[in-house]
């Protein structure tokens, strides 16, 4: 689906400083009814991630962590059922999932006297019932569920979307009768880095010759274009030449 630069800018501008909650997403949908939810979510997510990247560091200072933790403790002491952590995150303009992670890490550190492993934290975020403190478990869950840009649920949705689009792309290629080699075949052939699909017979799209297709299943703003180019595409370029950057 094509989206003009103007439209994109408008959305991006609207997003400005919004919290990554379902309420924000709802507002976004109301504001841009012409766009699909996935497009909006993708743009929202990317914009928000940019914002978080800018501010990430300040939330991770020792002082900040300590403040957040104390505020959390005070909050739940007053009312354990209140959305303490979520509100805290919104208040300081930080992703709720990430806030949950900070507090959880701090909590575990206090409880076990050592910095917990990443695996343990991730596993607890995925399944809060593993968190030894019931209140915190609920708080954390509330954060991850309400976060629409970060957190295990969102990650999983993104992954699922990626997979689905790859399947769709394959469908489309088959439909168009384009002979291609998929990633697994390429790996079997010994490609160390492979895009999703290589076309056995190149095609021309809008005057450009296309040799291979990589599905990213996310919105391609300039920033992510750059990042992907840096990370992956030059590697492919060295090997296969022309490519299409498929954004669904």
């Amino acid at each position: 689906m094509k989206l003009s630069k103007a439209q994109y800018d408008e959305i991006a501008q609207f997003l400005g400083h919004v919290q990554p909650t379902r309420q924000s997403l709802r507002k976004l949908k109301e504001r841009f009814p012409g766009q699909s939810q996935s497009t909006l979510l993708s743009i929202f997510s990317q914009e928000y991630q940019k914002q978080i990247k800018r501010t990430h560091a300040k939330h991770h200072t020792a002082e900040a962590i300590e403040t957040y933790y104390q505020r959390y403790l005070n909050g739940v002491m007053k009312n354990a059922a209140a959305p303490v952590l979520l509100e805290l995150a919104n208040e300081v303009d930080f992703a709720p999932s990430l806030m949950a992670r900070i507090v959880l890490e701090r909590f575990l550190q206090e409880q076990e006297g050592a910095v917990p492993t990443k695996t343990l934290i991730n596993s607890m975020l995925r399944d809060p019932s593993q968190i030894p403190d019931g209140v915190l478990a609920n708080q954390v869950y509330q954060c991850t569920v309400n976060d629409c840009c970060y957190g295990p649920l969102v990650d999983c949705i993104k992954h699922a979307i990626g997979h689905e689009h790859e399947v769709l792309l394959r469908e489309m290629l088959l439909e168009k009768n384009l002979s291609f080699l998929a990633e697994e075949q390429l790996r079997a052939k010994g490609y160390d880095k492979t895009p999703d699909f290589i076309l056995e017979v190149p095609v021309a799209v809008e005057g450009h010759i296309i040799h291979w297709i990589e599905s990213k299943a996310s919105f391609g703003d300039e920033c992510s274009h750059q990042a992907y180019l840096h990370d992956q595409f030059w590697s492919y370029w060295n090997r296969i030449l022309h490519f299409i950057f498929c954004i669904c």
């Binding site: 019932s129 019931g134 478990a137 609920n138 569920v145 999983c156 699922a160 689905e164 399947v167 010994g190």
Partner: protein, 1321 residues
């Protein structure tokens, strides 16, 4: 020196006494009675061994034409050799003359006994003037008279004064070697008693200058000799001139020593020295060496009765210190001449030494002439023809003792030498015997006599030594033993030894394969060490990713191309490497890359040579197996000769970077990055330290066969040792890299360089590690890698205080480690240490004087060593395979013996050549050469008459069809084989890593046999496809005959091409493919999901699926929204329509049924979310709206409940029916879920109970499981009333389930209203 030997040879002392005399100095602590006659020579002990070694080399050099020379390590040999090669190319000749090195200044200040010259009347002096000489431009008339004065130092054995600085010697030596007209007046003056040290000193300078300016003295020689002849006539001493032609002015024979220093830098230094072993003593060379040559009693020229010699001379020395008489010098001079003469004779007539004057005129001074040519037969060594057995025996005993006592720098070098003697070739000559007597008469001293002048003597000596060194020999690998056991010379000379060797061979299990894996292991990626968490920033992470990409690209390129001619590492890769290195902006990237580099290095180079981790059994038996399994071992040996370089490097090759190591070395050199080198050194040090502390499980010496544990330990040790050696070599390379020079730098620089470098700390404290390893008795692990490290020292490093101590310690260890089987250390362990140390002492940059001159400081380390649990030395860890892997040069012994058996002559340098394989055409039947040639000619003629396009077409078709054939075979046969392999490997994937490579080899070996059909199939393919293509491509009008010819040729060419490729590469291809497949299997196996089996069963959608179901991502998203609202925070009026929820669940079911878009991650997430949703429903936390009042009578609450029941029912059925992954339903009874209930005012336990029953009824959870979950819930902190309720609920659940059996109502509604529960509690 020589006097001691003289005593021995004259049987005045026995070898045992000499040995005792020798060891006296080394182990003064021991109570040793030294033979009286040896007492005066006490200070010479240290020099004796090198003297003996050189003596033996010199004596035998005529006879040894087989194999490379074995250097005798002696001081000054470098200079001599370089000069020799520079001037004449004949090291041996140069060596003869250049052996002197003692300090002349000392000589002259020394008082000498006036032992008068002994006119050797047995030789007619007329010989001297018979000028017909083979020497070009030289006069061979005896110039003896001018020699004594000018070079008293000449008679000196080269090993005497190694303590002195070379530089000082060089200048003076040369001057004395120079015999120029100017010198002669001087001599005369001196003889008259006017000589003075100072005048000689001036002369030295003059001569030195002269020697430097005169490139070639030959031009002057003719005139000189004329003059000299006159002198000799006048000179009374000249009467005793030896009866041969000798031109001391011949620069080739007696090159000026001074020239050496100026020329050293131009040619490579070499170890070889063949000094003229002058038989008599130099009376002047050392203060206390106070006897001169003692004329042997047999010699008619003897002046002194032999018995009196020592005492007389001792007295002389004390009494007469000041006189330097011409006669004493004369004597020296003469000895030299005589020696020279002998050599010349030998050279010219290998048949024996003919002292017949007429013979000497036919001298043909051409070294090559003396070499046996191919046509010559190997002399049959005959025991009965051995002369002077006694002396030989004594020598052998002495020599053996030196070997046994580790007095020689390298025992294997000596063994090699002995084997050279054993296998020496000579020509049979009847003159041998005849001349024997004459010869012995001609020699004044026993030392002078040529004890080794014929093959019989050499063999006799060799067999004697071998007999005494049986213990070492019997530990050599089986192939060597076999060759020794089958050696006919040993059999005829010593049946006893032969028998013992036979036995040793038969019982030996020491099979060693030096075969190296032919293909480099595939490049591995190691993602586990390089994930994002190891990097401080994304950028660094990505940079590193890229760098790795480039690195492997470079590696692959190198792999593919480095063997191509004209491929140059620096030219092709240099800039790319440097470009890549500039990416390193931060230290952490350097360290990451260094680690990657090191890992790759270990992976690729740990094996014997080059790549491959598996060894012992050779991994690439492809060719063998393709040929059939009969005669495997012979084929294997043949293959070894293909692959193992048969280089004639001798038993002491310089350190090298074979195989893949080359890449890493060149990479370091090309990168030229200081930072990278530093990080790499750090990384290497760390790894070395880590590996060096390897501990084996406490080990008890087992009797009998090694059990599995022991084998594993051995393997582990071997792995560690090989890795350590590799890493240490690279560390040494890096550490000494900045100081490395191709040629040894001049010693002038040494002092300042050493002073500077003494200030720096060593990168790795090898001294400490060595000391510790000696103390802890772990030398078997530490010494080999330290040796590798030190083998790369630059020329100055050994002179640094620190490394000097290291070398000294190693030397001490070497001396200490006398070979014998004892409890402290197993024999082979020692042998390995001795072998590597011996090798180290021969490395070019290790100074030569080190071995013989270093004072051995007796550190108490050896004795203080303690038996600890860590002690590795006592464990028999080394086997022959490891020994030969670490010291491949030991294989030279075998090659030498093998070449003797093969009888290959001197053409090949006495060695069997490595067979360089060409394409394996032989696999296909091959017509005879003439036939082939004719065929080619016919084809040429055929094409000649046809248009050129025909030829192009045929060649094109052949090329393409051949290529397609290979591809076809790959895609069909190989693919099938790989599939087979996959099946074979399927069950074995789970076995431990260590076995994998072996497993792969086994499987591959099975496949190779089937792979052999490839040739057949390939031929078939070409036969089928070739003609087709030719027919299509050629014009329609081509005549049938031409067409069929063209087809045949095309098919023939294509078949040839394909078959060549297949027979050379197929097995490697199979192996690679199988390995890749296997690795893939391992990867899949690793983090496997338990659901995979289930997935395998039903992999696809239902048959009529239209794939229109909503995407999983969408469903997850929707459920997430529901959860959001349920968990809150939410607006007051916010809620979810029941219909919406119902629809969601039904769509969920659809989605899960269509598998097209479902991936494991999304399915797992769906499972988790739905369980959460169920928990929220059960605790009534989902604000359900829009319920239609169907039955208005019922209250609102009831309707809501019914709605929930129905939703839960749907969920249960979805869980049971549609999910392929296990649903974590137990989370329903987790504390978190139950706590939802606790927070609710009005708890709905009936819903919970309903859920529990539902789980059981749907087979999602068992009774017991639920019970235990419920039970464990109680452990948490709950409000007391809640806890009570919880207990009641579990009781109810348990009792109900116990009673209600079988259950008929899976989803019955309310069973226990809450009121009842409360009442019951």
């Amino acid at each position: 020196m020589a006097a001691v030997l003289e005593l021995l040879l004259r049987e005045e002392v026995v070898a045992a006494e000499v040995v005792r005399w020798l060891s006296h100095s080394l182990r003064p602590a021991e109570e040793n009675h030294v033979h009286d006659m040896l007492v005066p020579h006490v200070l010479l002990q240290k020099d004796f061994v090198p003297f003996l070694l050189n003596f033996l080399r010199e004596q035998t050099r005529q006879i040894l034409t087989n194999g490379p020379s074995t250097p005798a390590k002696t001081p000054n040999s470098k200079a001599i050799r370089s000069l020799a090669s520079q001037r004449t190319g004949s090291e041996r000749r140069a060596g003869n003359s250049a052996g002197s090195c003692s300090s002349r200044m000392q000589l002259f200040s020394q008082k000498t006994p006036a032992s008068s010259c002994t006119p050797d009347t047995s030789f007619p002096s007329s010989v001297s003037s018979s000028g017909s000489s083979a020497f070009p431009g030289s006069n061979l008339s005896s110039p003896c008279s001018d020699f004594p004065r000018t070079s008293p130092s000449f008679s000196c054995s080269p090993v005497f004064n190694h303590n002195e600085k070379r530089s000082s010697q060089k200048a003076s030596l040369g001057s004395f070697l120079m015999t120029t007209p100017e010198v002669q007046p001087m001599r005369r003056g001196r003889r008259k008693g006017n000589s003075s040290v100072s005048s000689i000193g001036r002369q030295v300078v003059r001569d030195l200058r002269r020697s430097l300016t005169e490139d070639d003295g030959k031009t002057e020689n003719t005139s000189l000799s004329g003059g000299r002849r006159k002198q000799s006539e006048m000179d009374p001493t000249s009467a005793n001139s030896p009866p041969d032609q000798l031109n001391l002015n011949n620069f080739e024979e007696f090159p000026p020593m001074s020239a050496a220093s100026s020329l050293t830098n131009k040619s490579k230094p070499s170890r070889r020295i063949n000094p003229t072993p002058v038989s008599a003593e130099r009376p002047l060379s050392k203060p206390k060496m106070c006897f001169t040559s003692t004329p042997v009693s047999q010699s008619p020229a003897a002046r002194f009765p032999s018995g009196t010699s020592t005492k007389t001379f001792a007295a002389n020395q004390e009494g007469n210190i000041t006189s330097i008489t011409g006669s004493s010098l004369q004597e020296e001079r003469e000895m030299l001449k005589k020696e020279r003469c002998k050599l010349l004779h030998q050279t010219s007539s290998p048949a024996g030494l003919s002292l017949d004057p007429s013979m000497s005129t036919k001298l043909n001074y051409s070294w090559s002439a003396s070499l046996p040519t191919d046509s010559q037969l190997v002399t049959c060594a005959d025991l009965s023809k051995v002369s002077c057995k006694k002396q030989l025996e004594q020598l052998a005993q002495l020599y053996s003792s030196c070997i046994s006592e580790n007095l020689v720098p390298n025992i294997f070098l000596e063994l090699f030498f002995v084997l050279q003697l054993l296998t020496s070739k000579g020509t049979t000559s009847s003159e041998d015997d005849k001349n024997d007597l004459e010869f012995s008469q001609g020699c004044r001293d026993a030392v002078e006599r040529q004890h080794f002048r014929n093959v019989h003597n050499c063999v006799y000596f060799a067999v004697q030594v071998l007999d005494r060194q049986f213990e070492i020999i019997s530990r050599l690998e089986k192939g060597t033993l076999k060759l020794l056991a089958e050696n006919e010379r040993i059999a005829s000379f010593s049946p006893g030894l032969h028998e013992r060797l036979m036995k040793a061979y038969e019982s030996s299990t020491a099979k060693v394969s030096l075969l190296l894996p032919s293909s480099i292991q595939s490049v591995s990626f190691q993602p586990e060490t390089d994930n994002r968490s190891n990097f401080p920033s994304d950028r660094a992470f990505h940079i590193f990713k890229k760098q790795r990409d480039i690195f492997y690209e470079l590696l692959r390129e190198w792999e593919d191309n480095h063997e191509k001619p004209g491929w140059d590492f620096e030219r092709v890769l240099g800039n790319r490497i440097r470009a890549m290195m500039t990416h390193f902006t931060a230290a952490y990237n350097h360290s990451h890359f260094a680690r990657l580099f090191q890992k790759q290095l270990i992976q690729m180079c740990k094996g014997p040579v080059g790549g491959g981790t598996s060894w012992g059994d050779t991994p690439d038996q492809d060719v063998l197996n393709m040929l059939g399994s009969d005669n495997l071992s012979r084929l294997k040996r043949l293959q070894e000769r293909f692959v193992v370089p048969q280089s004639i490097r001798g038993p002491c090759p310089p350190p090298a970077f074979p195989g893949c190591q080359q890449f890493f070395r060149d990479f370091i050199l090309s990168a030229g990055s200081y930072q990278f080198n530093q990080h790499l050194m750090d990384s290497l040090c760390l790894k070395i330290l880590e590996l060096d502390s390897l501990t084996l499980v406490e080990h008890e010496p087992s009797d009998g066969e090694a059990d599995m544990d022991e084998q594993d330990e051995k393997k582990r040790f071997t792995g560690a040792l090989m890795t350590l050696r590799l890493l240490a070599k690279f560390l040494g390379f890096l550490v000494f890299l900045p100081y490395r020079t191709v040629d040894p730098p001049s010693r002038d620089l040494q002092e300042s360089a050493v002073a500077l470098r003494n200030q720096t700390l060593p990168v790795l404290d090898v001294l400490k590690l060595l000391r510790r390893s000696i103390l802890n008795r772990r030398t078997i692990l530490t010494v080999p890698w330290v040796v590798e490290f030190l083998s790369l020292v630059d020329h100055f490093a050994p002179f640094l205080d620190y490394y000097g101590r290291v070398f000294s310690l190693l030397l001490q260890l070497y001396r200490y480690m006398v070979l014998s089987e004892d409890k402290e250390m197993s024999f082979l362990n020692k042998l390995l240490i001795l072998a590597v140390l011996g090798w180290l002492f021969q490395v070019p940059s290790v100074p030569e004087e080190l071995f013989f001159t270093s004072e051995i400081r007796q550190e108490r380390l050896m004795r203080d060593a303690v038996m600890s649990a860590q002690a590795l030395d006592s464990v028999p860890l080394v086997d022959q395979q490891l020994l030969y892997t670490c010291c491949p040069y030991l294989g030279e012994l075998r090659k030498l013996l093998a070449s003797f058996v093969a009888g290959s002559g001197a053409k090949n340098g006495g060695f069997i050549r490595k067979i360089t394989p060409t394409a394996a055409e032989s696999l296909a039947p091959k017509p005879s050469i003439t036939q082939q040639k004719l065929q080619v000619e016919l084809e040429q003629a055929f094409f000649h008459n046809q248009p050129p396009s025909l030829r192009r077409t045929v060649e094109f078709v052949a090329e393409r069809v051949g290529s397609n054939c290979v591809k076809h075979i790959k895609a069909t046969l190989v693919a099938e084989l790989v599939k087979k392999a996959e099946v074979m490997l399927q069950d074995k994937v789970k076995e431990e890593d260590a076995k994998h490579s072996k497993l792969l080899d086994e499987v591959c070996a099975q496949l190779y046999e089937e792979g052999a059909q490839a040739l057949h199939k390939g031929r078939e393919f070409c036969r089928l496809k070739g003609p087709e293509a030719v027919r299509v491509l050629l014009p329609e009008e081509t005549s049938a005959a031409v067409l069929s010819r063209a087809e045949d040729i095309a098919v023939g060419l294509a078949t040839e091409k394909a078959c060549i490729w297949l027979s050379t590469n197929l097995s490697a291809l199979i192996k690679r493919e199988v390995r890749t497949t296997f690795n893939r299997m391992l990867r899949v196996q690793g983090p496997s999901l338990p659901s995979e089996d289930a997935e395998g069963e039903r992999r696809s959608c239902p048959p009529d699926c239209q794939h229109h179901a909503p995407f999983p991502s969408q469903i997850i998203n929707e459920i997430k929204d529901v959860l959001c609202i349920a968990v809150g925070p939410r607006d007051e009026d916010e809620g979810i329509c029941y219909v919406q929820l119902e629809g969601l669940l039904s769509r969920l079911s659809q989605t899960l049924r269509c598998r097209k878009f479902v991936c494991p991650t999304s399915e797992q997430q769906l499972a988790r979310c739905t369980v959460e949703l169920a928990s929220l429903l059960v605790s009534d936390r989902v604000p359900i709206q829009g319920l239609k009042p169907q039955t208005p009578k019922k209250p609102e609450r009831h309707r809501v409940k019914n709605a929930i029941y129905s939703l839960l029912k749907s969920l249960l059925s979805v869980w049971k029916e549609d999910f392929w992954t296990p649903v974590p339903v137990q989370l329903m009874i987790s504390r978190k879920s139950v706590s939802y209930m606790a927070e609710v005012e009005q708890r709905e336990w009936d819903l919970f109970l309903f859920m529990l029953h539902g789980l059981v009824d749907h087979g999602l959870m068992g009774n017991a499981e639920i019970e235990s979950c419920l039970h464990s819930l109680r452990e948490f902190l709950w409000p007391s009333d809640f806890l009570k309720e919880l207990e009641t609920i579990s009781r109810i659940f348990i009792s109900e389930h116990n009673v209600a059996e079988p259950r008929t109502r899976p989803c019955e509604l309310v069973r226990q209203p809450r009121g009842t529960v409360a009442a019951q509690s």
